[in-house]
């Protein structure tokens, strides 16, 4: 064997590849977005697609039901494709498609029909549409162990498509609901029959998927783990013991009382009751395909055909994405834990540190009790009352299995002041590492504000000396001079200090010993303390809190005028439903038409009110409109995160970091969303909503809903939209 220079080059490059992947996440990470040109399915309207598809079932049995299914499915698919979760031409989708190419290498006709996309969802799942679309969630990619497992997932979904399982199940459900054999008290039996049918389909997809795998070059043995991935999908993507030292430094020592001694074991229940489940339980699924897992040519088969490095890189990207996905889904403890796992690999990654900081902050603001007025800009809604309805609470740690339980326990047991201190210490250190990062800088200020405002902790409440220093001082002063008398109060304080120094109590007091030596830390802390002044300070900068002005009693329904010059409209929502014989049918075509019409009304009303506007929508997309597609995706992501906070204005909308560019491009930070839900039964019922949000701060500036037993005629909708926009554009009287 002779090695040429080029062979060395290739070998060198192969050795270097994992290092490059590692280097990609060392310092930072930028969330992935779509690129290139948009495929046809993103451009055609759902109506156009449905009209074509409906013709294909014109002469088939159950034509009506099939038509209904096709139309509903196409509209659902359209919403999914344009909703923003689906990634196009990104590294993850490209890799998954390469695996599909490999899997269907010998069946090009089938491959041509299959379109695979990755979606930004944390659920460990993949799903298919009969029309040929497969969606693989990043949550699943983050958990998979090898490429062969991904190939099996794809082959399972491809079988669903080839066998047209969705439409068959829909028709079966209709037959079941009209089947007279179930007449006598048998609703339960109908439901069970439905689940039975679904389980049969899943088993068929497993079996046929395995056949497809055998036809490919992928390892069959590797599939053993595929069902384990499903069984333990509720656990984080890696099991790594959580150590409290993650938050600690020389002086910030979290007491052992906050550290759960033993975490609960991971249960192994694969034989759960699946009577009312769409899928057979894992034991049955494993058992059904186990006999077929032995193949004679296993040794020639591979776990990785496309590339092991690419698989690992893809999984790392999915894991990085997952950290953000948890934040967006308000799954804060999981976000901290996922980032903790990744930080072990990339300890200097700023993106991961921001995830930790933001998650801690959002947990903190839900722990703190905000009573009284919440500071708002003029005209914004104020929610002075208890926000419990939208309060986030840490899931019960006793129900958590495995290593992450310790983190759940610690964050649950920490008081607001303790968590605030820990979070501030963590975020400030991250800020020092990346001083130019605005998110970390703002987060530091927010944590200072919480410390002063909600937890009434001021610079004077923190010790500048370490426990060791104080202990030494006590020893020196142990024998007081006989003629020097100690006051009662200094004796009390001394006693308290001695207890604190000797035990782990009040760890908060000593948490900032190092940080209080940092000039920036001291300056920012003092500035915040002076500015908020809830408590008299030693110097004369104390400003007594002004008396709360008695607000004029507002008339019912009287809403504030916001005096905003420009808004960005996002695609409005419109759904028309007809109720007939106790069932409700969505009128998809009409809804689509009405959506356009609502968009026009918005523009007319804005023009009349001299309100400037911009659009963020995916209306009439073209192949090259990838930027518009990404902008819409970003806004939808922002909205989906913000909606989870409900009327809680205190939590950080983490996506705001990425929407800043949009604010500059649009020339406004306000986005308006309008929608109508119209149901026509015996009477026409109309529900209208309007929302205005500040995408910089996450504040819900206006939220209006109106219900009426009235038709959704043009004049009715116009007057509703005009009224909402009038409140947005009119300036309040000074």
């Amino acid at each position: 064997m002779t090695f040429t220079i080029s062979t060395f080059r290739i070998a060198f490059a192969l050795l270097l590849l994992p290092c490059i992947a590692q280097a990609q996440f060392d310092k930072n990470y930028t969330p992935i977005s779509s690129s290139g040109t948009l495929p046809e399915e993103f451009i055609k309207t759902a109506r156009a697609i449905s009209e074509e598809d409906v013709r294909t079932v014109a002469n088939e049995s159950d034509r009506r039901a099939k038509e209904q299914f096709i139309i509903a499915n196409n509209y659902f698919l359209r919403d999914l494709l344009l909703g923003g979760d689906v990634l196009v031409n990104d590294p993850l989708s490209l890799y998954v498609n390469k695996v599909a190419d490999e899997l269907l290498k010998n069946q090009p006709a089938i491959r041509q029909k299959i379109h695979i996309y990755v979606t930004k969802s944390s659920d460990v799942n993949a799903y298919a549409f009969d029309k040929g679309f497969i969606f693989v969630n990043v949550g699943l990619l983050a958990q998979l162990e090898n490429e062969a497992q991904l190939a099996f997932v794809l082959s399972h979904e491809i079988t669903h498509i080839l066998k047209k399982h969705s439409i068959t199940q829909y028709i079966e459900e209709i037959h079941l609901s009209t089947d007279n054999t179930y007449d006598v008290g048998s609703e339960e039996n109908r439901v069970l029959a439905k689940y039975r049918f679904s389980k049969e389909q899943e088993s068929e997809a497993d079996q046929q998927g395995l056949v497809m795998m055998k036809e490919s070059g992928y390892s069959i043995k590797a599939l053993n783990g595929a069902f384990d991935v499903m069984q333990y999908s509720y656990l984080p993507f890696e099991i790594l013991e959580f150590k409290k030292s993650f938050f600690e430094d020389n002086n910030l020592i979290i007491p052992d009382t906050l550290n759960l001694k033993k975490t609960s074991d991971i249960k192994s229940n694969d034989d759960y009751d699946d009577t009312k489940s769409s899928h057979p339980n894992i034991r049955k699924r494993k058992g059904a395909i186990e006999p077929d897992l032995t193949v004679s040519d296993e040794s020639s088969r591979k776990k990785y055909i496309v590339s092991e490095d690419e698989f690992k890189k893809t999984r790392e990207i999915a894991r990085m994405e997952l950290c953000r996905s948890y934040l967006i889904n308000r799954d804060y403890v999981n976000a901290v834990y996922a980032a903790y796992i990744q930080l072990k690999k990339y300890p200097d990654n700023v993106y991961l540190k921001k995830v930790v900081g933001q998650a801690l902050y959002n947990i903190l603001v839900n722990k703190s009790t905000h009573k009284g007025a919440v500071e708002t800009s003029s005209g914004a809604y104020t929610f002075d009352d208890d926000l419990s309805s939208n309060k986030y609470s840490i899931p019960d740690y006793e129900k958590i299995e495995g290593a992450s339980q310790r983190l759940y326990y610690m964050l649950d047991k920490m008081t607001s002041a303790e968590l605030n201190t820990v979070a501030l210490s963590y975020v400030f250190k991250a800020h020092k590492q990346s001083p130019n990062d605005k998110v970390l800088s703002n987060l530091t200020d927010s944590l200072f504000a919480e410390l002063v405002n909600s937890n009434s902790l001021f610079p004077g409440d923190f010790s500048k000396k370490t426990k060791a220093e104080l202990k030494a001082k006590d020893t020196v002063k142990a024998q007081p001079e006989p003629e020097q008398e100690e006051s009662k109060y200094s004796q009390i304080k001394k006693q308290q200090q001695q207890t604190e120094v000797a035990t782990e109590e009040n760890f908060v007091k000593y948490a900032f010993v190092d940080l209080l030596k940092d000039e920036e830390f001291v300056t920012r802390f003092s500035k915040m303390a002076k500015g908020l002044s809830h408590k008299p300070l030693a110097d004369d900068t104390y400003v007594p809190p002004s008396k709360k002005k008695k607000s004029k009693k507002k008339k019912k329904g009287d809403q504030p005028l916001l005096g905003i010059d420009k808004v960005a409209f996002i695609s409005p929502f419109y759904m028309k439903v007809r109720a007939k014989h106790g069932k409700e049918y969505v009128l998809y075509y009409e809804s689509e038409e009405k959506q356009k019409f609502l968009s026009e009304i918005q523009e007319k009303c804005a023009d009349r009110l001299h309100l400037q506007y911009a659009h963020i929508s995916v209306k009439d997309l073209e192949n090259g409109d990838i930027k518009r597609y990404n902008d819409n995706a970003l806004i939808n992501e922002w909205l989906s995160e913000r909606f989870r906070h409900g009327d809680n204005n205190d939590e950080i909308v983490t996506t705001s970091e990425y929407t800043q560019r949009l604010v500059e491009e649009l020339g406004t930070k306000y986005i308006a969303w309008t929608g109508v839900y119209n149901k026509k039964g015996k009477a026409s019922r109309n529900t209208y909503f309007f929302m205005l949000m500040d995408i910089e701060t996450g504040k819900l500036m206006k939220f209006e809903t109106r219900y009426g037993r009235i038709k959704d005629t043009k004049d009715v909708i116009t007057s509703l939209v005009y009224n909402s926009l009038m409140h947005v554009s009119k300036k309040p009287k000074s």
Partner: protein, 223 residues
């Protein structure tokens, strides 16, 4: 308006406006004033229609409405109607006939409030109830010559529904019920007036004319 009653009516209207004219009223696309025409009509079943001809009792109205609240309009109108009363006394005897038809044209002024129902989102769209006070200036005439003039008042109630088309035109339809108080209240004006003996018949005829009508209207959103 020379009569003290009309002055009081005017003052009442301004008061009503001040109570109901709240800020932040959207109107329709910002337009709050409507000018229009309305027709109140119904087959003339009780007594003569226009000067005795059979057909419809009709009242033509020129309306002014102002959207004063989210669900409230302040309304004023000028109306014209023509009807008649049969007379079997002096004029009939003069002509040697058993009865003659005296003409009864009336010019009316109304003022009132229109309240839109809960189901309506904002005025001027949707179902409404309208309450009006009407002052009627009627003349009793024979062969074109005015014999006596009367002043009466009536209370009107209209149930209707409005729509806006082409963002400008308000279409209005409904039912109107009118009531002319009898007895002391009915004779509040000019109780000792010339032609007092005909007033009862005049009021009775006007009552029948206003009792029940179909209401149709069209108006333009102006300001």
């Amino acid at each position: 308006m020379s009569s003290p009653l009309l002055k009081r009516l005017g003052a009442g209207l301004i008061l009503l406006l001040s109570f109901h004219a709240v800020a932040q009223v959207p109107g329709y696309m910002g337009r709050r004033l409507t000018l229009g025409y309305s027709l109140n009509c119904f087959p003339s079943l009780l007594g003569p229609a226009t000067y005795g001809s059979s057909g419809l009792n009709a009242t033509h109205g020129f309306n002014l409405e102002y959207i004063a609240g989210k669900k409230t309009n302040v309304c004023a109108s000028f109306q014209l109607l023509k009807t008649g009363v049969y007379e079997t006394g002096g004029y009939a005897l003069e002509n040697g006939e058993a009865e003659v038809l005296l003409q009864l044209p009336s010019k009316n002024i109304t003022a009132g409030l229109k309240f839109f129902s809960k189901s309506a989102q904002f005025s001027p769209i949707g179902k409404y109830n309208k309450f009006e006070l009407m002052v009627m200036f009627s003349d009793l005439a024979y062969k074109g010559k005015t014999l006596y003039s009367y002043k009466d008042f009536a209370l009107l109630f209209t149930m209707g529904r409005q729509r806006v088309v082409f963002n400008r035109l308000v279409l209005d339809g409904g039912l109107q019920f009118g009531f002319l108080p009898a007895g002391y209240l009915g004779g509040l004006f000019n109780s000792v007036e010339p032609g007092y003996e005909y007033h009862y018949a005049v009021r009775e005829r006007l009552f029948r004319h206003q009792l029940f009508n179909l209401h149709l209207g069209v108006s333009f959103l102006t300001l």
